[in-house]
Symmetry: C2
Subunit: 211 residues, 2 copies
DNA sequence: TATTCAATCCCTGAAAACAGGGATATTAAT
DNA sequence: ATTAATATCCCTGTTTTCAGGGATTGAATA
């Protein structure tokens, strides 16, 4: 019997997934969580084999939750799940201990394949995810890799930018000079490969850095 | 027997929903659609009582699809569905013929309540949706209402802004003068109540105008 | 028919963002 | 001990956006 936990911030998705897995032999949904924190707590207190983990969640996102889970329990398998076909999420999840990744626009078959593959101790990525990873690899292999993970400060600045604050206003709010904010801005543009503020916010959404 | 069609752009959500409704007496999922266009076509060719319609979809969104469906078949009931708790979507759906609305963060119970209520010919909005509508009503009742619906052109410009094009570049791409683009920009800022480009993109995402 | 609305075009001046340098202190990792 | 990353601060000049006017056309609607 494979014990599965579902972590997603949309109850209806959880309910649907539970119904999907309900009648399947060998699979049992033993719990649900609407954010990363709940997922981690549940796994510490109960026996869970596989966590189906959405990446974008409030409180604690899927990447952080996976990292936390992997630290305490190496036997636990995490299956990453997201709407966005963004390579950074996929890479972050796999780097931090996830054993598989599928997109929400793939269907039931891929999900079941993934669960069974993970339970055997192997890695599963759906066909589309594989393409994304391959394309990403080919593009980056020759160049030096930029650390696209944002620092705490950068994330703060990003959030301020998104709600419409100007550089000066952000400086006042965070008690730093406007020059500093401009530096963070530059680094954000670089890291998120954006040409201007509009694209910055757009890319931040695409990567789920804002919700 | 209630014949249900599910329209959502995420296959996994459709599969989950199908599983959820599978074993229920009196309900039968007779079809699925991954965009508004498919939903409309399916309803023209098959007998459908209720369409569970996601708002954010490619090709043709839920609002447009509902409008189209309502023109040809008044007996058909549409249940609006979205992740975002944005009052504009809810209002747009209900104004254009939807008989109910629920959010994806509500669970199975609300969904079933909604389906049965709609089938009886009544209107259903979940508790949370009701709160949103009430708050919206209280806020707007005294003021004149701004038509926040974007024109086609404005939507085009919005999309260009989001991918990082400048006013000049947008003008070149859409074969209009930069002055015209600036006008659209101004109207967009006004309609989406944004102070600048960053907040504009942010609000557009929050309302699901970009995906 | 009159009016409203979308879409187009035009202008100016101020504010903000962007490109592009450079610099220092602290901390964490190699 | 050195390096790398983070966070901080500074400057200049150019480009872009924003706020604020105004105007015309055509289509749809009341």
């Amino acid at each position: 019997m494979i014990n599965v936990l579902i972590a997603d911030d949309h109850q209806m998705f959880i309910d649907g997934m539970k119904a999907l897995l309900r009648d399947l032999p060998g699979i049992k949904v033993v719990g649900e969580a609407c954010n990363g924190k709940e997922a981690v707590i549940h796994c510490q207190e109960n026996l869970v084999d596989i966590v189906i983990m959405d990446v974008n969640m409030p409180e604690m996102d899927g990447v952080e939750a996976t990292k936390a889970l992997f630290k305490t329990n190496k036997n636990l398998k995490v299956l990453g799940l997201s709407m966005h076909r963004d390579r950074h999420f996929i890479a972050d999840m796999l780097k931090n201990g996830a054993s598989g990744y599928i997109l929400k626009n793939t269907g039931k078959k891929d999900l079941l394949d993934a669960i069974h593959t993970l339970y055997k101790g192997e890695t599963y990525v759906s066909e589309e995810v594989n393409k994304i990873l391959l394309a990403s690899f080919l593009k980056d292999s020759s160049k030096y890799e930029v650390n696209e993970r944002l620092s705490e400060r950068e994330t703060e600045v990003l959030e301020c930018i998104a709600v419409g604050l100007t550089t000066l206003e952000i400086g006042e709010k965070l008690f730093i000079s406007k020059n500093t904010v401009e530096s963070h801005r530059k680094n954000l543009l670089y890291k998120l490969k954006a040409k201007n503020t509009a694209e910055l916010v757009n890319n931040a959404y695409k990567r789920g850095l804002i919700n």
